[in-house]
Assembly symmetry: C2
Homo-oligomer: 369 residues x 2
């Protein structure tokens, strides 16, 4: 398999804006063309767009508006992990030799679909994602004694991390009491346990090993990829205290990269709700099963930014089609030593975890500087 | 680059039906699982869905309904060449080594979007595809003297070919007079010069060289791939007598496969309107520029089925997301000697041409037995 590098990235502020979807995408692409040495529009072989928006021919529109005439252009949709699906697809084009250079851009608007999961008959009337999160939360509480206080630490930590992320949706701190007393939505999930749907866009440029040094002195290598779909219905998870697709995806990503959780210096994981971070830390081997809450509390108490340094989805916001790509951008900045106040010292190996719809599908990427 | 084979395929009848989109997709997948030796659901690493429908998480839904738990699943959209975009994406997954076996399924319903091209500001009020086709027709008439009679031969030939295709939308012949006197829509395009939007689905299973003989004794190899996007706006074509994206895509596909038009035995090309077939035959080197009309007339007069043996889009119907895959299915059947009454004798090398939105993007594939 040919090596593939991430050589440039771009982000927009995550917020609520009047900008249409295509303008958002152009805003995250613009810094890539402005800041990447030797990059010309004619170099781009692939343009993939990632969104849940119901737009047709979007990748062609973005190509034309960017002045790019790629070989390959299309839109990719897989709900909340559309972003990493499009990145892995671009990886495959480059790794196979069909393309040298690929631009991947994701964006979402809060009025795009994807927040109500109409297709999942196993949910009955409970079609908002908060209901699967509530059931995972209840199950984890029953089996491992996870408390509302434990969940609050995830939110407080990630909101705190987001304060050092100039692109984050939230710009003010939330105290432990703020989270504990935020509006209780399901009995075990409060408003501040939830990631915030918002507008935003993220983009990365990837290329073959041969081309990487043309564009950057600090390429970030995609060394591990794991993806798994178990279903479209969250009740197909074997139990509700772990995420089967995540466990399979992370095992494949570790195998491909010859790494384990012990080797990972910095992580962006899919904390759609507080309970997700706890379960995912356990399922990806960062702690023993049932120890996720203690792990998060230790991170908080030691001001360790290793997990979700940009604030995760809870602190930075969750523009669905952009999220997976924004996670990748953060890890690239961390491994490139460009994460400023968020920098995890000496980070050489990073991990991205991006999932959809109650972990019915997951993507895990290992990145290395 | 690792070799990739098409090892199985499935189709639905193209018609108008009450079946929902997911049921249509399952109907074209079913024969693949029923008829492919040694194939089990657990073997499928990738499920890609191709459609213009505004469905979220469709590839996961289709995976679950098919009993498949793939590594990779997402939906691909690029308007009328969504089908070949998804196939080339699957090729990249297999060729790169990220996957061994991939299922690609396309489907459309006539009430799906894609028939009105809202994004193309260069069209002004003329947003239905018939208007770009009308402008191409006018330009070709002016420059090469193409006549309404010439266009009618495309339609009569393709409707005639479709009579031997049990999956075609049209089931009755149309005479030269029928076409000439069908409703005149734009002055130079009659109703029977148009492909018919309809419901339908098509699917193929592809795999690595190592796995091909496990599933079939007659693999069809994807030996040439060319894709090009020039814009989202059809007026960006340099002129309106040729299709720039098609010329670039076919050159790349010939280069990769070490073939020329001379080597190609059978073709499925994107005759969205009669004029398209004439222009594409010229642009892909099957005849000199300006000789497309004569070429089609000769095919008709000699009852030669080399071009669009299943009836093309005009005879078989045009369910957008399924079309590119259905074209591939036809060429696989031709190269496998399984095309029954449509069989082009001794066909060893075939070509698929699938394009979108006034040829603003094109895919060309060379397939070999």
């Amino acid at each position: 398999m040919k090596k593939v590098a991430i050589v440039a990235n771009g982000l927009t502020k995550f917020n609520k804006t009047e900008k249409p979807l295509d303008s958002l995408m152009l805003s995250s692409i613009k810094p890539i063309f402005e800041n990447t040495k030797n990059l010309e529009q004619k170099d781009v072989d692939v343009v993939l767009t990632s969104t849940n928006a119901h737009e047709n021919y979007l990748a062609n529109i973005i190509s034309e508006l960017s002045g790019v005439k790629p070989k390959i252009s299309h839109s990719v949709e897989s709900l909340c992990n559309s972003g990493t699906n499009s990145l892995v697809s671009a990886y495959a084009y480059v790794s196979s030799g069909l393309a040298e250079t690929a631009l991947v851009v994701g964006a979402e608007k809060t009025d795009n679909p994807g927040l109500v999961l109409d297709w999942d008959m196993s949910r009955g009337e409970f079609k908002h994602p908060i209901f699967w999160a509530s059931m995972f939360t209840s199950a984890h509480m029953r089996k491992y004694g996870t408390s509302l206080e434990d969940l609050a630490y995830v939110s407080v930590k990630n909101h705190k991390n987001a304060l050092d992320n100039p692109y984050a949706y939230f710009e003010k701190p939330f105290s432990f009491d703020d989270v504990m007393h935020s509006k209780n939505l399901t009995g075990n999930i409060r408003l501040l346990d939830c990631s915030m749907p918002c507008d935003g866009s993220a983009a990365v440029l990837i290329c073959s090993e041969e081309k990487a040094t043309k564009y950057t002195d600090t390429p970030i290598w995609i060394t591990g990829i794991g993806q798994k779909t178990i279903s479209a219905s969250f009740t197909k998870n074997d139990d509700l205290v772990s995420m089967e697709s995540t466990k399979i995806a992370v095992a494949d990503a570790y195998h491909m990269s010859h790494k384990t959780a012990m080797d990972v210096d910095v992580v962006e994981l899919h904390d759609a709700f507080s309970v997700c971070e706890i379960i995912e830390l356990e399922d990806m081997g960062f702690c023993q099963k049932g120890q996720g809450s203690k792990f998060v509390r230790d991170l908080y108490n030691t001001d360790d930014k290793k997990i979700n340094p940009r604030g995760g989805l809870i602190g930075a916001g969750h523009p669905l089609g952009a999220t997976g790509i924004a996670q990748v951008v953060e890890i690239c900045q961390q491994l490139g030593g460009k994460a400023e106040k968020r920098q995890v010292s000496g980070a050489k190996t990073g991990l991205v975890h991006n999932m959809s719809a109650g972990s019915t599908s997951s993507t895990v990427l290992v990145l290395e500087s």
